[in-house]
Amino acid sequence: MATRGGRQTRRVTASRHEGYLRHARFRWAKIAGIAALFAIIVYWIHDPDPRPNGGSVYGYTLGTIGALLILWLTMLGVRKRAMTRGAWSLKAWTSAHVYLGLLLLVIGTLHTGFQFGWNVHTLAYGLMLFVILSGIFGITVYGVLPRMLSENRGELTETQMLENLRAIDRQLHDAAQPLDGARAALVSAALAEDAFAVGLWSRLTGRERRGATRIARARILADDPASTRAEMLLDRKLEMLRQVHRHLRMRALLEVWLYVHVPVTIALIAALTAHIVSVFFYW
């Protein structure tokens, strides 16, 4: 009995889900928070002449820490391809990535000494900000969108959504056979409309298109049984298209930050290299 009880407990512990943000009771959040506070206090106390500068002793210290942090944060791209458990599990690593990334915001900003200009140094800082902000965006959409995504899908999978669309199209095709040429052409255009030919910007903004299906629905007058049926099917298709487009929009929001986060990280490392080399080149 005792063994059974023990096993039961273990299973309960193992099954309670703990996301990467709350990993180990916010261990990395606390570490990063304390480090950020410490950095800010030292910045406050430290009184470099003539003003805070990336080239003071503290400035170089922050710069070195920041650069190493950036390289370590980038390593998540390599690390995530190997899954392990425990203290150095991928979840722990991701948790550290998030909170140390936020810490970088403080360290990088203090390193600038709030001196900005049109130069490679501020370029590196700007790219760093861009990467961090895109990361924050990513965390936010990961927290919010999946639920909305499944609510929108209802019980449907993506494949089922596509199948649904195909079925409606088939029925529409059959139903439109008796229609005269002009109406048939409208339905034909509606059938030819690509539900997925939505540009990146339209997907992100969720702007509703005036596609061929909407045009067909607006122009076909239901004055006989065949066109009434076509009209009903067009309504169903429009509803389906809206659902597909909402899904496309959320998928786009969910994915787009990585298209910024990853390439801009590489750009940041390039700018960081230029920043560091230039500082020592014109020493």
């Binding site: 195909r166 048939a184 230039s278 080149f281």
Partner: protein, 586 residues
């Protein structure tokens, strides 16, 4: 004649199903309408789209019936003749008809759907359909592109142009993006010439870069005294030094104090710490120094010790702390209070000359162009009241010459010699007759007057140089008893009293003169009206001013590479000292 229609379709399993149908007629109607001989459920077709008409045994004609073209062997047309041997292909909407002759001699039409019903049905890449991977630019490509652009523009190009000959156009612009901030206004001309200071790659800026223009910038003191005055660094300082050395940044370079790239303004004053490091405890490390310890203007700075010049040539100099209330003998007797009074005779005289109220400071003290004041002069400032006129003759006012006592004596003598008593005409009428007593009396009086004329000159001379006389009003007069050889004591006016400090009256123009100089209360010309450090501290705080106070670090008043005064270690120190005091002697 018959048409054989053979329709191929595909079952869900992928198996092909072929259906055949025979139509016995010469004409075959094709369209979307169910009553057509060949009914094609294709929305691109008209209800009655086309007809195929048999012409003899070998040919058929395809004719469009709804005015919509079709394709024959890839060509769009409304009418076409097709020979059954070898046959032909007709495309109608999403269907392809292959027309030929079958083994039985009938016209065989094979029908095949070649297009999908809808776009959704045609979709193949289902896995990525909903993802933006299909439409967004590749992450890898974007990363490479950005990285190459940034490294090229901000690393490769500047380094290449650094080593390239300067003749290459635009090369000087390449490293502009490396500049962390604008140069100070004084160095603005070097903005596009980074290599003027950054001469070698990975070598911190060296003094020779600065000295290529600043040729006469000299050191602060003799090197051995500087070394002695520098404190031994603590643990943090040693660490800092060793890090700096490890990174090839030797200490003591010009740029340690003179930081650049701080923005297009005047170069920032050197931070106080660079001075206070040594001067904070100078007395203990350099006991023979004449300077007191100074760390901060408010917290630790000695009372001012003006250098006071006595009247005389060469002037005797002494440095005395203002705490000891030093006095200066300038050779003048000039009470400020008397001249600034609003009620006395001086004020009334000023009013008679058209002034409203009393005389004020600016009546005598004229600012110069360097933040100081021009020396007060008799001609410009005193003479309007202190007239040297002594007589009116020959239609003019006779005036004594200022600044030359011997000349004054000679002039007065000459004047009285020439302007003696007028000679009566009666005594000039030829030979005097005996008994003419009037003439005799006149002659005797005249003779006495002539004889006493020298006395009148002497009396006037003595009067001028004595209490109540024009000279004595302002000057100290020396003379041997009984002698007419009067001498005016030497006068000294001093422009600067603190040659180790800079002071400019102009930024202080918002203050009244008397807020620092207590002239209205000074009844003696010997008073030194310099304000003490406490007066300055009412506005000037040190490096950490309170609200409303003026931040005043060392560099506000002191110059490290000062030319004048005794700070600079130059051979002709004494001359520079005197220059710095701006003495005017008479």
């Amino acid at each position: 004649m018959s048409f054989i229609l053979r329709t191929a379709s595909r079952a869900a399993t992928g198996r092909e199903i072929v259906r055949s149908q025979r139509v016995d007629a010469d004409r075959l109607t094709i369209g979307r309408a169910p009553d057509c001989d060949l009914h094609l459920p294709d929305l691109q077709l008209a209800l009655l789209h086309a007809e195929i008409v048999q012409h003899g045994a070998d040919r058929v004609e395809v004719i469009a019936r709804a005015g919509l073209p079709f394709e024959v062997n890839g060509r769009s047309t409304q009418q076409a003749i097709i020979a059954l041997v070898p046959g032909g292909e007709v495309q109608l909407g999403a269907h392809r008809l292959t027309i030929g002759r079958d083994d039985g001699g009938d016209t065989l039409i094979q029908v095949m759907r070649i297009g999908e019903v809808s776009r959704a049905a045609a979709t193949v890449d289902e896995r990525n359909l909903f993802s933006i991977a299909r439409i967004a630019p590749s992450r890898r490509a974007t990363a490479w592109l950005l990285a190459i652009l940034i490294l090229g523009a901000f690393l490769v190009w500047p380094i290449r142009s650094f080593y390239a000959p300067s003749a290459i156009a635009g090369a000087e612009q390449a490293d502009a993006a490396w500049s962390p901030g604008k140069l100070s206004l004084a160095h603005a001309g070097l903005e596009k010439n980074c290599a003027a200071c950054h001469k070698a790659a990975f070598v911190a800026v060296r003094d020779d870069s600065c000295q290529s223009c600043h040729k006469d910038a000299h050191d602060h003191a003799a090197p051995e005294r500087l070394a002695k005055a520098t404190p031994v660094p603590g643990l943090e300082g040693q660490l800092r030094q060793s890090i700096a050395l490890a990174f090839n940044r030797p200490p003591g370079r010009c740029v340690d104090c003179h930081t650049e790239h701080e923005g297009a303004t005047a170069m920032a004053p050197t931070p106080q710490r660079f001075c206070s490091d040594c001067h904070g405890g100078l007395k203990s490390r350099l006991p023979d120094t004449p300077f007191g310890n100074a760390r901060d203007f408010v917290q630790d700075h000695p009372q001012f010790r003006p250098t006071i010049a006595g009247a005389g040539t060469p002037p005797k100099l002494r440095r005395v702390s203002l705490d000891r209330h030093p006095r200066q003998d300038s050779g003048l007797t000039f009470p400020h209070a008397l001249h600034l009074s609003t009620t006395n005779a001086v004020a009334r005289m000023a009013q008679r000359q058209g002034k409203t109220g009393a005389t004020d400071c600016a009546d005598c003290h004229t600012p110069d162009l360097e933040g100081g004041f021009k020396p007060v002069s008799m001609e410009a400032n005193c003479q309007s009241c202190h007239s040297l006129a002594f007589a009116r003759s020959d239609g003019t006012v006779r005036t004594l010459r200022h600044g030359d006592p011997q000349q004054v004596v000679a002039e007065l003598r000459d004047f009285f010699a020439l302007h003696g008593p007028s000679r009566p005409q009666a005594i000039d009428g030829g030979r005097r007759r005996p008994g003419d007593f009037v003439a005799a009396s006149l002659s005797a009086t005249y003779g006495r007057a002539i004889a006493n004329r020298g006395d009148a000159a002497e009396r006037s001379i003595r009067a001028v140089f004595s209490p109540g006389g024009a000279c004595y009003d302002c000057h100290k007069v020396e003379a041997a008893p009984g002698s007419l050889n009067f001498r005016i004591a030497p006068v000294v006016q001093q422009g600067h009293f603190m040659p180790h400090a800079l002071f400019d009256h102009r930024p202080h123009a918002s203050q009244s003169c008397t807020s620092c100089h207590t002239a209205p209360k000074s009844n003696s010309a010997r008073d030194l009206l310099l304000p003490g450090i406490a007066t300055c501290r009412t506005c000037h705080a040190g490096a950490r001013p309170a609200r409303g106070q003026v931040k005043s670090t060392c560099a506000m008043c002191h110059v490290y590479h000062q030319e004048g005064g005794t700070i600079a270690t130059t051979p002709d120190r004494r001359r520079r000292d005197l220059d710095a005091l701006q003495l005017t002697t008479q």
